[in-house]
Amino acid sequence: MLEMRGIHKRYGPVHANRNIDLTVPLGKIVGLLGENGSGKSTLMKVLFGIVRADAGSITYKGRVLAGHSPRESIAAGIGMIHQHFMLVEAMTVTENIMLGWTRAGRWLRPREIAELIDGASCTYGLDVDPHATVGRLPYGQRQRVEIMKAILRGADLLVLDEPTSNLSPPEAGRLLEAMRRLREQGRSVIFISHKLGEVLDICDDIVVLRDGEVTGRCSAAGATRAELAHMMVGRDVTTPIHRVSRDPGPEILAVTGLLHTDESGVERLREVSFSLQTGEILAVAGVDGNGQADLVDAIAGLQRPDQGRVSLAGRDITRWSVQARLAAGLSYIPVDRSGTSIVPGMTVEDNLALREFNRVPLSRWCRLDRAGFRALAASGIARFGIRAGGPDAPARTLSGGNQQKIVVAREVGRNPRVLLAFQPTWGLDPGATRFVIDQVLALRQAGGAILYISAELDEVLTLGDRIAVMYNGRLSEPVRREETDRTTVGLMMGGFAPT
């Protein structure tokens, strides 16, 4: 149904796409697998007409698409579901679907449209209430509204860009189910992901991209995770995680009764309490936006909680400054790299020194010691294998994985007593993910205590000595990893209390 041939796209010196062929047959789900920056998004932008390819041809349903606009793509029957939704929050589902849809007619007929929505809801198992206000819907439902929008506009080919990254496992399962139904109805899907399990689970064909080139194609039947991972990163990364059992030591971090309400009056933290022991990883699962950010910010000192207490090694640090907490041995890897944990415009060495620049040996009195910076950079680059043009290369010239290595070098390299790791593998390819995980485990082995917050079920289950789930501002009672399982944690992430 869709044939893309020899697609070339260059951004300056970077080949985002190099001679890529992609075929999507009718009624099939094609997985597009690749690390960040491998060219998946560029290829889809070319398909949808957001960017123009330098060379190559696109044929869709026998028609050649060239120099087309997104509007023409939609008219031709291609639907694209972006990670950021294009919905008006104040409007209902029906209104959103009518919005900008010329075939809905000049006169609004909300009732007919609502019936259409109900019908499609049943056919595809999308379960969308046409009268609900979009602003009140959770992420997963908004996504289904977007899919509905595309289907009703006549999309026979749906492009889903990393659709499961913000979903709880039950919601992700529903999405995959809806995709199967779409396939049954004879529609095709391009599923972009870097999650091997999901791709293997649902796709018919898989195309793997690396550095803008196709490095592998196979049918999902018969492919293995290891093979796919190898194609994705070009080397083996699936050696099992080496995890030594270790008895936790004394309590080092205690959090009691944290309460926080944000400016718009939403309760972000509701009575969050837990304790953390040395040599232990407490893994907190949860879908993004359930209060995790407020929790880590409160512990790291970036935000004062309204109530509650944080103590480190027996001392109350609730009112301490960020710098004082840092000096007391509290490290923090925030989720947002570009702009929080990394300053893209600053050099690698400045970024390595970002949090301790005002201490010996990086400065004396008020004078920066450039030699100290250089030494720190040299050791960080060597020990953590940061690939950079040099210590004075701007951080923005580094790949995401290498930027995260800077953060890890800075936060883990100082051997902290407590490490707050907030989705430290977010947006990283398998190789870099593995690196981060190994470093976290090494820190645990050395006696560090780690609060590991993640939306990835696999990570939580493999890393946590104890596991808790954050949902709607509440933290569940942490349980030992042996006492829980995938299904339970998955359900709790979706808000179902354990039975």
Binding site: R235, H242, A300, G301, L302, S321, V322, Q323, L326, Y332, P334, D336, G339, T340, S341, I342, V343, P344, G345, M346, T347, D350, A353, L354, R355, F357, N358, S363, C366, R367, L368, R370, A382, R383, F384, G385, R387, G389, G390, A393, P394, T397, F435, D438, Q439, L441, A442, Q445
Partner: protein, 372 residues
């Protein structure tokens, strides 16, 4: 086990990345050099475009643009006297501009240089009129320090309003400009005014309070040296001190600054006070070195020019020096152009304005590439 692994990672990197890393480094160095070159090229193109458009305006007013520009060049650099005049003109722009540049670095939009210069001038005047020392070695430093304190206090006032009451700094610095200018009038119509003069001005300072001249026989005073010293100091401050590091992080990303434990209120207050101090010194130099008295409206337009200089220099302290000189010479030349050719000197504001527009467009092109 972890070291084992990281060692292995290094090996991998060394194996396939050694040659590449070297190549990349060379490429990046070339790029960094090109960045610098690009800034100069962009600024020059902007200036050339501005001069070109103004030439059209001059032609429309019935004069020959080439003749006018020749007069302008002669007026700016035609003789030692003229160069001295232009350097004196540049001094307040440089001092004000470098302070504004530091503020902009930390995303503090200080447009209050004009008021800070005014208050600095008042403070210097007060010292010059009231300290009856016979030696310039006492009066001048005392007056300059007073000017710095006055300007710093004025900026700190704005910063306090910003930080405690949440009034945006653009608003409070801008409005305090008017207050500062009116303070000068108030002082001249009251306690500092020259009795019997029909003009709002203070009495002429006594000789020891006049800034010494650099070149005998010209008007060139030591202000330009102070300005150059300030540039070097600010450059070192920005790149070599923890305070400069804080400013750079703050300017690059407020979120990263919070994460690094950099306090915005403290830094904003300090950088405002510093910029105010520099502007105050500029005001002091104006009264002590150019007019030898306080006169009404002596700081008019300086605040705008300081912002212009800071932007022209892409908020880089070192680059403030050429930018400030450029503006000073441009203005000196334009005054000569007016005298000799009869082209209205208001055209200099046109050139300035157009240069700013073109430079800002150029900065817009290059802003993503900026290094902090």
């Amino acid at each position: 086990m972890s070291e084992d692994r990281s060692a292995r990672v290094n090996e991998v990197d060394a194996a396939d990345g050694g040659a590449m890393a070297t190549a990349t480094r060379h490429a990046l160095e070339a790029l960094a050099a090109a960045d610098w070159l690009r800034a100069v090229v962009l600024a020059s193109v902007a200036v050339a475009l501005a001069l070109g458009v103004t030439a059209v305006l001059i032609a429309i007013s019935g004069k020959n643009p080439l003749v006018a520009y020749a007069a302008m060049v002669r007026g700016a650099v035609g003789s030692i006297d003229r160069i001295a005049f232009a350097l004196n003109k540049s001094t307040p722009y440089i001092l004000g501009g470098v302070g504004v540049a530091l503020c902009f670095r930390a995303r503090v939009i200080n447009i209050g240089a004009e008021g800070q210069i005014a208050v600095g001038g008042i403070a210097a005047t007060w010292v010059a009129l009231n300290i009856a020392a016979s030696s310039g070695a006492i009066v001048i430093p005392a007056a300059i320090v007073a000017a710095a304190l006055g300007g710093a206090g004025w900026a700190a006032f704005a910063a306090t309003i910003r930080l405690t009451r949440g009034v945006h700094e653009v608003l409070c610095t801008l409005l305090l400009n008017f207050v500062g200018l009116l303070l000068v009038s108030e002082a001249l119509h009251g306690p500092m005014g020259e009795p019997g003069a029909g003009f709002p001005q203070s009495p002429l300072f006594k000789r020891p309070a006049w800034l010494p001249h650099l070149l005998a026989g010209t008007d060139l005073h030591i202000g330009i040296l102070i300005a150059v010293f300030a540039i070097v100091a600010c450059h070192l401050l920005l790149w070599r001190t923890t305070f400069g590091f804080r400013l750079r992080v703050l300017g690059a990303s407020p979120a990263a600054a919070a994460y690094a434990g950099v306090s915005f209120p403290r830094c904003a207050f300090a950088v405002m006070a510093l910029a105010g101090g520099l502007a105050g010194i500029a005001g002091g130099i104006e009264v002590l070195g150019v007019h030898y008295r306080l006169i009404e409206g002596f700081s008019l337009g300086f605040g705008f020019n300081a912002v212009a200089v800071a932007l022209l220099a892409s908020i880089n302290p070192i680059a403030v020096l050429p930018a400030g000189l450029f503006l000073g010479f441009l203005e000196a030349g334009a005054l000569a152009m007016q005298r000799e050719v009869g082209v209205p000197s208001s055209l200099v504001f046109v050139i300035q304005g157009l240069t700013m527009v073109f430079v800002l467009c150029a900065i817009g092109i290059g802003i993503r590439q900026q290094r902090v």
